[in-house]
Symmetry: C2
Subunit: 333 residues, 2 copies
């Protein structure tokens, strides 16, 4: 079978990638609901995908039994409702991060997953869409640096103040900075530490400079039995950086370290996806740009085969829960 | 006047640098006490400084009124006692880090400083002895990256298992990993955030792999009103790294970032002391190897002029206190 997907929720530009990669993975796009809080996103979508079908009533998409998957990049606080509706209509879900923004939504998603047997998959793009991260995880699983002791994930983001819709500025909609963007690094900690769950040892958020009421800095210490992870996210990418953020991941092992410079090697090597390995033998730069990324292929296979090869459902929901717990802990502080 | 110094405490190799840099800064070495827990350190000292005078009774050095300064690199837990004795004999103190290992020692040092007016200076070498850090601090003070929001200090160290004396393995002597090596990064946080004091928001230590009872991993979150710092220290430098540790400092500002690769740029540029600046204009590599380092010159001037230009006494003692607080918090956990 060739699975078919619909797009409901065109509020964030990430919808372009979700759509593009699903098509490249072999799915057919059955149509999209052209309603948005951000006219620029819709305009860009139409420009990129001029042949796709607009469906004015999203219920038609939900009711269509030939549609297997709903892809969602709505306002973060509205994603879970769409996801639950999709699952209740028999569809698997691929959602931009964050997949949800409250504990209530998490409970509703968990219940829908349990009762329908559908897949709720959050696309943690900072792992799945960066070949250096995919390669690093393979190397770590193969034992390249011994046992993983710690990860440091730095996720600076460009503010792009003028491009942002109103909901970007209100934590009620984006869920707080840890929910919104630190879920990436939580996902990476669980993956590299090779554990299904963890606990939040420390979390903080701050409003340092952007504007009152807007969390522009956040940090987390996450722990498993044998490893810990430090996570920092912020909206302070300097204007002079040639990309949206200098995303880094450092993995400390008992026998070596791996450092990823995912999107840029500042004042260094050209291109993206730089993997630096230090082990017992020496130091090596391993270029990973253009390398394997198979999340969308695996997700497509999972839709067909009812498997969970792209990411286990438990992992995905644990990341969501840990992000919520970190945000709660930080906000109570 | 040309100040004269004595060396008491030759248990750590850092004594070589303390001695060398004091001589280069213009002080005269009046002699050293050739007693050590580590015969290799003494042997190396004699090889490096064959013309210096050995004084078998350290009391003779303390009692000598022509000696102005005592330099100390004893077993960490014994440094404060020597420092207090030196101050009580009218001498200023230059001590390898950590300067002390318990709250009782801190109180005794504070009292001696207050009552004698002498200087107790801990040589935080990862700042004072790396020109990239000296330069970065100048640039930050000049406003190169706006207001400092956060620092990340990573301090991996090579274990060198076979070179270590017995006291290296027992926290009773080294004070715990946060006291022993994280005091560097606490010092750097205070310096870059431009605050005299801070508080410990989180701290943890772990025994991950080296041997039972030995803290091989530690981390701290330190906070001031307007900034925070994450610190990680460990003993897991891989054998293939061409130096003892890939020490990094990242300074996040409202208008830019600075990253220091102090001792090596892995699989990258040759040499040490690499400063990477990202600001509104672009990305730049600023080589700092061989650049200015003036701690020892300033310390020497402070000894002569009774000033505190190298480091304020309050800063130094606050770093010691914060390291002790972090260690206590982590150990209670």
């Amino acid at each position: 079978m060739q699975p078919r997907f619909a797009v409901i929720g065109l509020d964030h530009r990430h919808v372009y990638e979700l759509t593009q990669y699903l098509i490249e993975a072999g799915m057919e796009c059955a149509g999209y609901w052209p309603v948005t809080s951000d006219a620029g996103v819709l305009e860009g979508f139409r420009k990129r995908f001029p042949t796709l079908t607009e469906v004015a009533d999203k219920q038609l998409l939900l009711d269509d039994p030939t549609i297997n998957v709903v892809a969602i990049a709505a306002i973060p606080s509205e994603r879970a409702d769409i996801a639950v509706a999709a699952m209740r209509h028999g569809k698997d879900v691929l959602v931009d991060k964050p997949g949800l923004t409250t504990f209530e939504q998490l409970a509703a998603v968990r219940a829908a997953v349990a009762e329908t047997g559908r897949i709720f998959s959050v696309c943690f793009s900072e792992r799945f869409q960066t070949p250096s991260t995919v390669r690093a995880l393979e190397m770590v699983r193969e034992g390249a640096i011994g046992r993983v002791i710690q990860t440091v994930g730095l996720g600076p983001h460009r503010l792009n103040r003028k491009l942002r819709p109103d909901w970007f500025w209100d934590a009620k909609y984006y869920g707080g900075i840890l929910v919104d963007i630190a879920s990436h690094q939580i996902d990476q900690f669980l993956a590299f530490a090779n554990v299904e769950d963890a606990e939040i040892a420390y979390a903080a958020v701050a409003e340092r400079a952007v504007q009152p009421g807007f969390q522009d800095f956040g940090e987390i210490v996450v722990k498993s039995k044998d490893a810990s992870g430090y996570i920092r996210v912020d909206w302070f990418t300097p204007d002079g950086l040639p990309t949206w953020g200098d995303g880094r991941l450092t993995v400390l092992g008992t026998e070596g370290t791996i450092e990823l410079r995912k999107y840029v090697d500042i004042a260094g090597k050209p291109g993206t996806d730089h993997l630096f390995l230090v082990d017992g033998k020496g130091t090596r730069h391993i270029p990973c740009e253009g390398g394997k990324m198979d999340y969308f292929q695996k997700f497509t296979a999972d839709v067909i085969n009812r498997t969970e090869t792209a990411m286990t459902q438990a992992h995905c929901l644990n990341v969501c829960r840990l992000a919520l717990e970190a945000q709660r802990l930080a906000t109570q502080r």
